[in-house]
Amino acid sequence: MNYTFHFGVVWDDWHALAWGTWLTIQLSASAMVLGLLVAIAGALGKTMGPKPVRWLVDAYVEAIRNTPFLVQLFLIFFGLPAAGLRMSANEAALFAMVVNVGAYATEIVRAGIENIHRGQVEAGLALGLRPLQVFRYVILFPALQTIYPALCSQFILLMLSSSVVSTISAQELTAAANDLQSRTFRSFEIYIVVTAIYLALSLAFSGTFAAIRRAVFVETGKR
Protein backbone atom coordinates (compact mmCIF):
# COMPACT_ATOMS: atom_id res chain seq x y z
CA MET A 1 0.00 0.00 0.00
CA ASN A 2 1.75 3.13 -1.22
CA TYR A 3 -0.46 5.72 0.35
CA THR A 4 0.58 8.54 2.63
CA PHE A 5 -2.11 9.96 4.84
CA HIS A 6 -2.40 13.72 4.86
CA PHE A 7 -4.68 14.68 7.67
CA GLY A 8 -3.14 18.17 7.56
CA VAL A 9 -5.66 19.39 4.97
CA VAL A 10 -8.49 18.43 7.31
CA TRP A 11 -7.06 20.36 10.27
CA ASP A 12 -6.32 23.37 8.06
CA ASP A 13 -10.03 23.62 7.31
CA TRP A 14 -11.37 22.58 10.69
CA HIS A 15 -13.61 25.63 10.91
CA ALA A 16 -15.48 24.56 7.73
CA LEU A 17 -16.18 21.17 9.34
CA ALA A 18 -17.10 22.75 12.67
CA TRP A 19 -19.56 25.04 10.89
CA GLY A 20 -20.95 22.03 8.98
CA THR A 21 -21.37 20.14 12.26
CA TRP A 22 -23.31 23.04 13.74
CA LEU A 23 -25.54 23.20 10.62
CA THR A 24 -26.21 19.45 10.87
CA ILE A 25 -27.28 19.81 14.51
CA GLN A 26 -29.43 22.84 13.66
CA LEU A 27 -31.07 21.16 10.66
CA SER A 28 -31.78 17.92 12.54
CA ALA A 29 -33.15 19.69 15.61
CA SER A 30 -35.43 21.94 13.54
CA ALA A 31 -36.68 18.97 11.53
CA MET A 32 -37.32 16.99 14.72
CA VAL A 33 -39.32 19.77 16.38
CA LEU A 34 -41.44 20.43 13.29
CA GLY A 35 -41.73 16.69 12.62
CA LEU A 36 -43.06 16.18 16.14
CA LEU A 37 -45.81 18.72 15.50
CA VAL A 38 -46.72 16.83 12.33
CA ALA A 39 -46.62 13.61 14.32
CA ILE A 40 -48.90 14.85 17.09
CA ALA A 41 -51.41 16.07 14.49
CA GLY A 42 -51.07 12.78 12.61
CA ALA A 43 -51.47 10.66 15.73
CA LEU A 44 -54.53 12.61 16.87
CA GLY A 45 -56.01 12.26 13.38
CA LYS A 46 -55.26 8.56 13.37
CA THR A 47 -56.69 7.81 16.81
CA MET A 48 -59.58 10.27 17.04
CA GLY A 49 -60.29 11.60 13.56
CA PRO A 50 -63.12 10.56 11.23
CA LYS A 51 -62.52 7.72 8.75
CA PRO A 52 -61.27 9.82 5.78
CA VAL A 53 -58.70 11.52 8.04
CA ARG A 54 -57.54 8.17 9.42
CA TRP A 55 -57.22 6.85 5.89
CA LEU A 56 -55.22 9.94 4.87
CA VAL A 57 -52.81 9.58 7.80
CA ASP A 58 -52.37 5.89 6.96
CA ALA A 59 -51.60 6.73 3.34
CA TYR A 60 -49.04 9.36 4.40
CA VAL A 61 -47.29 7.08 6.87
CA GLU A 62 -47.18 4.09 4.49
CA ALA A 63 -46.02 6.19 1.53
CA ILE A 64 -43.12 7.65 3.50
CA ARG A 65 -42.10 4.45 5.27
CA ASN A 66 -41.99 2.43 2.06
CA THR A 67 -39.95 4.77 -0.14
CA PRO A 68 -36.31 5.89 0.29
CA PHE A 69 -35.58 9.28 1.86
CA LEU A 70 -33.32 10.12 -1.10
CA VAL A 71 -36.25 9.75 -3.53
CA GLN A 72 -38.50 11.84 -1.28
CA LEU A 73 -35.79 14.49 -1.29
CA PHE A 74 -35.49 14.44 -5.10
CA LEU A 75 -39.24 14.59 -5.51
CA ILE A 76 -39.43 17.64 -3.25
CA PHE A 77 -36.34 19.45 -4.53
CA PHE A 78 -36.59 18.69 -8.26
CA GLY A 79 -40.24 17.74 -8.60
CA LEU A 80 -42.09 20.44 -6.66
CA PRO A 81 -40.51 23.41 -8.55
CA ALA A 82 -41.81 21.83 -11.77
CA ALA A 83 -45.22 21.80 -10.08
CA GLY A 84 -44.83 25.47 -9.21
CA LEU A 85 -43.38 25.38 -5.67
CA ARG A 86 -39.86 26.77 -5.70
CA MET A 87 -37.51 26.52 -2.72
CA SER A 88 -33.82 26.67 -1.89
CA ALA A 89 -31.76 23.52 -1.30
CA ASN A 90 -31.77 24.13 2.45
CA GLU A 91 -35.54 24.68 2.58
CA ALA A 92 -36.14 21.56 0.49
CA ALA A 93 -33.82 19.57 2.78
CA LEU A 94 -35.65 20.74 5.91
CA PHE A 95 -39.05 20.14 4.29
CA ALA A 96 -38.09 16.61 3.20
CA MET A 97 -36.72 15.78 6.65
CA VAL A 98 -39.87 17.07 8.37
CA VAL A 99 -42.12 15.08 6.04
CA ASN A 100 -39.98 11.99 6.57
CA VAL A 101 -39.55 12.06 10.34
CA GLY A 102 -43.17 13.18 10.74
CA ALA A 103 -44.37 9.83 9.37
CA TYR A 104 -42.14 7.72 11.60
CA ALA A 105 -42.91 9.82 14.67
CA THR A 106 -46.66 9.64 13.94
CA GLU A 107 -46.48 5.89 14.49
CA ILE A 108 -44.48 6.37 17.70
CA VAL A 109 -46.84 8.97 19.17
CA ARG A 110 -49.90 6.96 18.13
CA ALA A 111 -48.53 3.91 19.94
CA GLY A 112 -47.91 6.08 23.01
CA ILE A 113 -51.48 7.38 23.05
CA GLU A 114 -53.03 3.97 22.43
CA ASN A 115 -50.91 2.58 25.24
CA ILE A 116 -52.93 4.55 27.78
CA HIS A 117 -55.88 2.48 28.92
CA ARG A 118 -59.33 4.08 29.13
CA GLY A 119 -59.62 2.51 32.57
CA GLN A 120 -56.61 4.55 33.74
CA VAL A 121 -58.36 7.79 32.88
CA GLU A 122 -61.52 6.61 34.61
CA ALA A 123 -59.52 5.53 37.65
CA GLY A 124 -57.85 8.94 37.78
CA LEU A 125 -61.21 10.69 37.71
CA ALA A 126 -62.62 8.29 40.30
CA LEU A 127 -59.71 9.15 42.61
CA GLY A 128 -60.82 12.76 42.49
CA LEU A 129 -58.21 14.17 40.06
CA ARG A 130 -59.39 17.11 38.01
CA PRO A 131 -59.49 16.56 34.19
CA LEU A 132 -56.35 18.65 33.68
CA GLN A 133 -54.53 16.64 36.33
CA VAL A 134 -55.69 13.45 34.64
CA PHE A 135 -54.34 14.70 31.34
CA ARG A 136 -51.03 15.64 32.93
CA TYR A 137 -50.39 12.67 35.21
CA VAL A 138 -52.36 9.88 33.56
CA ILE A 139 -52.11 10.59 29.82
CA LEU A 140 -49.26 12.96 28.95
CA PHE A 141 -46.55 11.89 31.36
CA PRO A 142 -46.85 8.11 30.97
CA ALA A 143 -47.24 8.48 27.19
CA LEU A 144 -44.11 10.63 26.99
CA GLN A 145 -42.26 8.18 29.19
CA THR A 146 -43.12 5.26 26.91
CA ILE A 147 -42.30 6.99 23.63
CA TYR A 148 -39.26 8.97 24.82
CA PRO A 149 -36.65 6.29 23.99
CA ALA A 150 -38.17 5.67 20.54
CA LEU A 151 -38.21 9.40 19.77
CA CYS A 152 -34.58 9.70 20.86
CA SER A 153 -33.40 6.94 18.53
CA GLN A 154 -35.56 8.46 15.80
CA PHE A 155 -33.70 11.74 16.26
CA ILE A 156 -30.33 10.02 15.90
CA LEU A 157 -31.52 8.17 12.77
CA LEU A 158 -32.73 11.51 11.41
CA MET A 159 -29.40 13.17 12.10
CA LEU A 160 -27.48 10.37 10.39
CA SER A 161 -29.78 10.33 7.36
CA SER A 162 -29.45 14.12 7.07
CA SER A 163 -26.04 13.49 5.45
CA VAL A 164 -28.04 12.51 2.34
CA VAL A 165 -29.25 16.09 1.80
CA SER A 166 -25.72 16.94 0.64
CA THR A 167 -26.77 15.41 -2.71
CA ILE A 168 -28.96 18.44 -3.42
CA SER A 169 -26.10 20.64 -2.09
CA ALA A 170 -27.94 21.71 1.04
CA GLN A 171 -25.41 23.00 3.56
CA GLU A 172 -24.48 20.67 6.40
CA LEU A 173 -21.57 18.48 7.54
CA THR A 174 -21.39 16.08 4.59
CA ALA A 175 -21.71 18.96 2.12
CA ALA A 176 -18.83 20.71 3.91
CA ALA A 177 -16.82 17.49 3.55
CA ASN A 178 -17.67 17.17 -0.15
CA ASP A 179 -16.63 20.76 -0.69
CA LEU A 180 -13.32 20.20 1.10
CA GLN A 181 -12.82 16.99 -0.85
CA SER A 182 -13.26 18.67 -4.21
CA ARG A 183 -10.62 21.25 -3.28
CA THR A 184 -8.00 18.94 -1.74
CA PHE A 185 -8.74 15.46 -3.23
CA ARG A 186 -7.97 13.98 0.20
CA SER A 187 -11.28 12.11 0.22
CA PHE A 188 -10.38 9.27 2.57
CA GLU A 189 -8.87 11.45 5.30
CA ILE A 190 -11.79 13.88 5.14
CA TYR A 191 -14.50 11.23 5.26
CA ILE A 192 -12.76 9.38 8.10
CA VAL A 193 -12.74 12.55 10.19
CA VAL A 194 -16.34 13.41 9.25
CA THR A 195 -17.49 9.87 10.07
CA ALA A 196 -15.82 10.25 13.46
CA ILE A 197 -17.66 13.55 13.97
CA TYR A 198 -21.00 11.85 13.21
CA LEU A 199 -20.13 9.04 15.62
CA ALA A 200 -19.25 11.58 18.32
CA LEU A 201 -22.56 13.37 17.68
CA SER A 202 -24.59 10.14 18.00
CA LEU A 203 -22.79 9.14 21.19
CA ALA A 204 -23.12 12.63 22.67
CA PHE A 205 -26.81 12.83 21.86
CA SER A 206 -27.69 9.35 23.11
CA GLY A 207 -25.71 10.06 26.29
CA THR A 208 -27.52 13.35 26.82
CA PHE A 209 -30.92 11.79 26.12
CA ALA A 210 -30.23 8.99 28.61
CA ALA A 211 -29.16 11.52 31.25
CA ILE A 212 -32.33 13.54 30.68
CA ARG A 213 -34.37 10.39 30.95
CA ARG A 214 -32.80 9.44 34.27
CA ALA A 215 -33.23 12.96 35.61
CA VAL A 216 -36.81 13.51 34.49
CA PHE A 217 -38.63 10.22 34.26
CA VAL A 218 -37.04 7.70 36.57
CA GLU A 219 -36.97 10.01 39.58
CA THR A 220 -40.53 11.24 39.24
CA GLY A 221 -41.59 7.66 38.66
CA LYS A 222 -40.38 6.73 42.16
CA ARG A 223 -42.40 9.38 43.95
Binding site: L70, V164, T195
Partner: protein, 217 residues
Protein backbone atom coordinates in the same frame (compact mmCIF):
# COMPACT_ATOMS: atom_id res chain seq x y z
CA UNK B 1 -32.89 18.33 -26.64
CA UNK B 2 -35.36 16.92 -24.12
CA UNK B 3 -37.81 14.23 -25.09
CA UNK B 4 -41.10 13.35 -23.46
CA UNK B 5 -41.28 10.63 -20.84
CA UNK B 6 -42.48 7.61 -22.78
CA UNK B 7 -42.87 3.86 -22.52
CA UNK B 8 -39.18 3.26 -23.13
CA UNK B 9 -38.24 5.49 -20.22
CA UNK B 10 -40.71 3.69 -18.02
CA UNK B 11 -39.30 0.32 -19.07
CA UNK B 12 -35.77 1.57 -18.36
CA UNK B 13 -36.82 2.36 -14.78
CA UNK B 14 -38.60 -0.96 -14.37
CA UNK B 15 -35.56 -2.80 -15.71
CA UNK B 16 -33.39 -1.06 -13.10
CA UNK B 17 -35.40 -2.85 -10.39
CA UNK B 18 -33.26 -5.93 -10.93
CA UNK B 19 -30.12 -4.00 -9.86
CA UNK B 20 -31.86 -2.74 -6.74
CA UNK B 21 -32.94 -6.30 -6.02
CA UNK B 22 -29.49 -7.74 -6.82
CA UNK B 23 -27.77 -5.29 -4.48
CA UNK B 24 -30.38 -5.94 -1.76
CA UNK B 25 -29.92 -9.70 -2.14
CA UNK B 26 -26.13 -9.53 -1.93
CA UNK B 27 -26.27 -7.28 1.13
CA UNK B 28 -28.93 -9.44 2.77
CA UNK B 29 -27.01 -12.68 2.31
CA UNK B 30 -23.66 -11.15 3.29
CA UNK B 31 -25.24 -9.18 6.10
CA UNK B 32 -27.11 -12.27 7.28
CA UNK B 33 -23.91 -14.27 7.65
CA UNK B 34 -22.14 -11.34 9.29
CA UNK B 35 -25.18 -10.59 11.44
CA UNK B 36 -25.25 -14.12 12.83
CA UNK B 37 -21.58 -13.82 13.80
CA UNK B 38 -22.23 -10.41 15.40
CA UNK B 39 -25.31 -11.67 17.27
CA UNK B 40 -23.44 -14.74 18.58
CA UNK B 41 -20.47 -12.61 19.64
CA UNK B 42 -22.79 -10.07 21.24
CA UNK B 43 -24.40 -12.77 23.39
CA UNK B 44 -21.25 -14.87 23.91
CA UNK B 45 -20.13 -15.87 27.41
CA UNK B 46 -16.76 -14.18 26.70
CA UNK B 47 -16.55 -10.48 27.58
CA UNK B 48 -14.00 -9.47 24.87
CA UNK B 49 -16.27 -10.92 22.17
CA UNK B 50 -19.26 -9.06 23.53
CA UNK B 51 -17.26 -5.84 23.67
CA UNK B 52 -16.03 -6.22 20.09
CA UNK B 53 -19.55 -6.89 18.82
CA UNK B 54 -20.96 -3.94 20.76
CA UNK B 55 -18.28 -1.69 19.28
CA UNK B 56 -19.01 -2.95 15.77
CA UNK B 57 -22.74 -2.31 16.14
CA UNK B 58 -22.17 1.11 17.70
CA UNK B 59 -19.79 2.08 14.90
CA UNK B 60 -22.16 1.16 12.08
CA UNK B 61 -25.38 2.33 13.73
CA UNK B 62 -23.77 5.55 14.94
CA UNK B 63 -22.50 6.81 11.57
CA UNK B 64 -24.33 7.62 8.33
CA UNK B 65 -24.56 4.85 5.74
CA UNK B 66 -23.51 7.44 3.16
CA UNK B 67 -20.18 7.93 4.98
CA UNK B 68 -19.66 4.15 5.16
CA UNK B 69 -20.30 4.02 1.43
CA UNK B 70 -17.86 6.88 0.74
CA UNK B 71 -15.18 5.32 2.93
CA UNK B 72 -15.35 2.01 1.07
CA UNK B 73 -15.55 3.74 -2.30
CA UNK B 74 -12.76 6.27 -1.74
CA UNK B 75 -10.81 4.01 0.60
CA UNK B 76 -10.38 1.50 -2.21
CA UNK B 77 -8.34 4.15 -4.01
CA UNK B 78 -5.65 3.79 -1.38
CA UNK B 79 -5.10 0.23 -2.52
CA UNK B 80 -4.72 1.55 -6.03
CA UNK B 81 -7.24 1.51 -8.81
CA UNK B 82 -10.92 2.37 -8.87
CA UNK B 83 -13.46 0.09 -7.32
CA UNK B 84 -16.62 -0.87 -9.18
CA UNK B 85 -19.59 1.03 -7.65
CA UNK B 86 -21.55 -2.23 -7.31
CA UNK B 87 -18.74 -3.85 -5.32
CA UNK B 88 -18.26 -0.78 -3.13
CA UNK B 89 -22.00 -0.58 -2.44
CA UNK B 90 -22.20 -4.33 -1.79
CA UNK B 91 -19.34 -4.18 0.74
CA UNK B 92 -20.70 -1.12 2.56
CA UNK B 93 -24.28 -2.41 2.69
CA UNK B 94 -23.11 -5.87 3.82
CA UNK B 95 -21.08 -4.43 6.71
CA UNK B 96 -23.99 -2.15 7.61
CA UNK B 97 -26.61 -4.92 7.40
CA UNK B 98 -24.43 -7.17 9.58
CA UNK B 99 -24.57 -4.57 12.35
CA UNK B 100 -28.34 -4.06 12.12
CA UNK B 101 -29.19 -7.77 11.80
CA UNK B 102 -26.71 -8.56 14.58
CA UNK B 103 -28.52 -6.17 16.89
CA UNK B 104 -31.98 -7.44 15.89
CA UNK B 105 -30.98 -11.09 16.34
CA UNK B 106 -29.21 -10.38 19.64
CA UNK B 107 -32.59 -9.21 20.93
CA UNK B 108 -34.23 -12.41 19.69
CA UNK B 109 -31.58 -14.61 21.33
CA UNK B 110 -31.88 -12.72 24.61
CA UNK B 111 -35.68 -13.03 24.46
CA UNK B 112 -35.39 -16.79 25.00
CA UNK B 113 -36.11 -17.41 28.71
CA UNK B 114 -33.16 -18.36 30.94
CA UNK B 115 -35.01 -21.54 31.88
CA UNK B 116 -34.32 -22.89 28.40
CA UNK B 117 -30.56 -22.48 28.98
CA UNK B 118 -30.82 -24.02 32.43
CA UNK B 119 -32.81 -26.96 31.10
CA UNK B 120 -30.26 -27.48 28.32
CA UNK B 121 -27.40 -27.40 30.83
CA UNK B 122 -29.28 -29.79 33.11
CA UNK B 123 -29.61 -32.15 30.17
CA UNK B 124 -25.84 -32.07 29.80
CA UNK B 125 -25.63 -29.83 26.73
CA UNK B 126 -22.64 -27.53 26.43
CA UNK B 127 -22.86 -23.95 25.12
CA UNK B 128 -22.51 -24.70 21.36
CA UNK B 129 -25.11 -27.46 21.39
CA UNK B 130 -27.50 -25.52 23.63
CA UNK B 131 -27.21 -22.50 21.35
CA UNK B 132 -27.56 -24.48 18.12
CA UNK B 133 -30.26 -26.95 19.11
CA UNK B 134 -32.27 -25.19 21.82
CA UNK B 135 -31.92 -21.41 21.65
CA UNK B 136 -31.38 -20.54 17.97
CA UNK B 137 -34.38 -22.50 16.61
CA UNK B 138 -36.68 -20.69 19.05
CA UNK B 139 -35.00 -17.33 18.46
CA UNK B 140 -35.39 -17.82 14.70
CA UNK B 141 -39.16 -17.86 15.04
CA UNK B 142 -39.22 -14.50 16.81
CA UNK B 143 -36.63 -13.15 14.36
CA UNK B 144 -38.67 -13.70 11.19
CA UNK B 145 -40.93 -10.62 11.45
CA UNK B 146 -38.26 -8.02 12.37
CA UNK B 147 -35.91 -9.49 9.76
CA UNK B 148 -38.50 -8.99 7.02
CA UNK B 149 -39.02 -5.50 8.41
CA UNK B 150 -35.29 -4.86 8.11
CA UNK B 151 -35.45 -5.97 4.48
CA UNK B 152 -37.64 -2.92 3.79
CA UNK B 153 -34.94 -0.69 5.27
CA UNK B 154 -32.28 -2.47 3.22
CA UNK B 155 -34.12 -2.08 -0.10
CA UNK B 156 -34.54 1.63 0.65
CA UNK B 157 -30.88 1.92 1.65
CA UNK B 158 -29.71 0.64 -1.74
CA UNK B 159 -30.89 3.97 -3.19
CA UNK B 160 -27.74 5.55 -1.69
CA UNK B 161 -25.63 3.48 -4.11
CA UNK B 162 -26.86 5.91 -6.79
CA UNK B 163 -24.69 8.60 -5.19
CA UNK B 164 -21.48 6.72 -6.03
CA UNK B 165 -22.81 6.06 -9.55
CA UNK B 166 -24.31 2.57 -9.37
CA UNK B 167 -27.30 2.42 -11.74
CA UNK B 168 -30.22 1.08 -9.72
CA UNK B 169 -33.74 2.55 -9.65
CA UNK B 170 -32.82 5.97 -8.21
CA UNK B 171 -29.83 6.50 -10.53
CA UNK B 172 -31.94 5.32 -13.47
CA UNK B 173 -34.48 7.96 -12.44
CA UNK B 174 -31.79 10.65 -12.47
CA UNK B 175 -30.64 9.52 -15.93
CA UNK B 176 -34.19 9.64 -17.32
CA UNK B 177 -34.80 12.98 -15.62
CA UNK B 178 -31.72 14.45 -17.28
CA UNK B 179 -33.08 13.40 -20.66
CA UNK B 180 -36.74 14.35 -20.19
CA UNK B 181 -36.61 17.05 -17.51
CA UNK B 182 -39.91 15.95 -16.03
CA UNK B 183 -38.67 15.48 -12.45
CA UNK B 184 -42.07 15.32 -10.78
CA UNK B 185 -43.27 12.54 -13.05
CA UNK B 186 -39.97 10.64 -13.12
CA UNK B 187 -39.34 10.64 -9.37
CA UNK B 188 -43.01 9.83 -8.70
CA UNK B 189 -42.61 6.73 -10.85
CA UNK B 190 -39.37 5.91 -9.01
CA UNK B 191 -41.15 6.31 -5.67
CA UNK B 192 -44.02 4.09 -6.82
CA UNK B 193 -41.56 1.38 -7.90
CA UNK B 194 -39.91 1.40 -4.45
CA UNK B 195 -43.34 1.35 -2.84
CA UNK B 196 -44.28 -1.68 -4.93
CA UNK B 197 -41.17 -3.47 -3.63
CA UNK B 198 -41.37 -2.37 0.00
CA UNK B 199 -45.05 -2.29 0.87
CA UNK B 200 -45.69 -6.03 0.42
CA UNK B 201 -42.66 -6.67 2.65
CA UNK B 202 -44.03 -4.26 5.28
CA UNK B 203 -47.40 -5.99 5.22
CA UNK B 204 -45.75 -9.40 5.41
CA UNK B 205 -43.65 -8.28 8.37
CA UNK B 206 -46.74 -7.02 10.20
CA UNK B 207 -48.62 -10.23 9.41
CA UNK B 208 -45.74 -12.37 10.67
CA UNK B 209 -45.53 -10.26 13.81
CA UNK B 210 -49.11 -11.10 14.76
CA UNK B 211 -48.55 -14.73 13.84
CA UNK B 212 -45.16 -15.48 15.38
CA UNK B 213 -44.68 -12.54 17.71
CA UNK B 214 -46.23 -14.06 20.81
CA UNK B 215 -45.60 -17.75 20.21
CA UNK B 216 -42.81 -18.18 22.73
CA UNK B 217 -44.78 -16.72 25.62
Amino acid sequence: MFHHFGTNDFLFLVAAIRWTLALSAIAFIGGGIGGLVVALARTAPLAPLRLAATGYIQLFQGTPLLMQLFLVFFGANMFGGRIDPLIAAAIALTLNAAAFLGEIWRGCIEAIPRGQWEAATALGLRYPAAMRDIVLPQAARIAVAPTVGFLVLLVKSTSLASIIGFVEITRAGQIINNATFQPFLVFSVVAVLYFALCWPLSLLSRHLETRFGTVSR
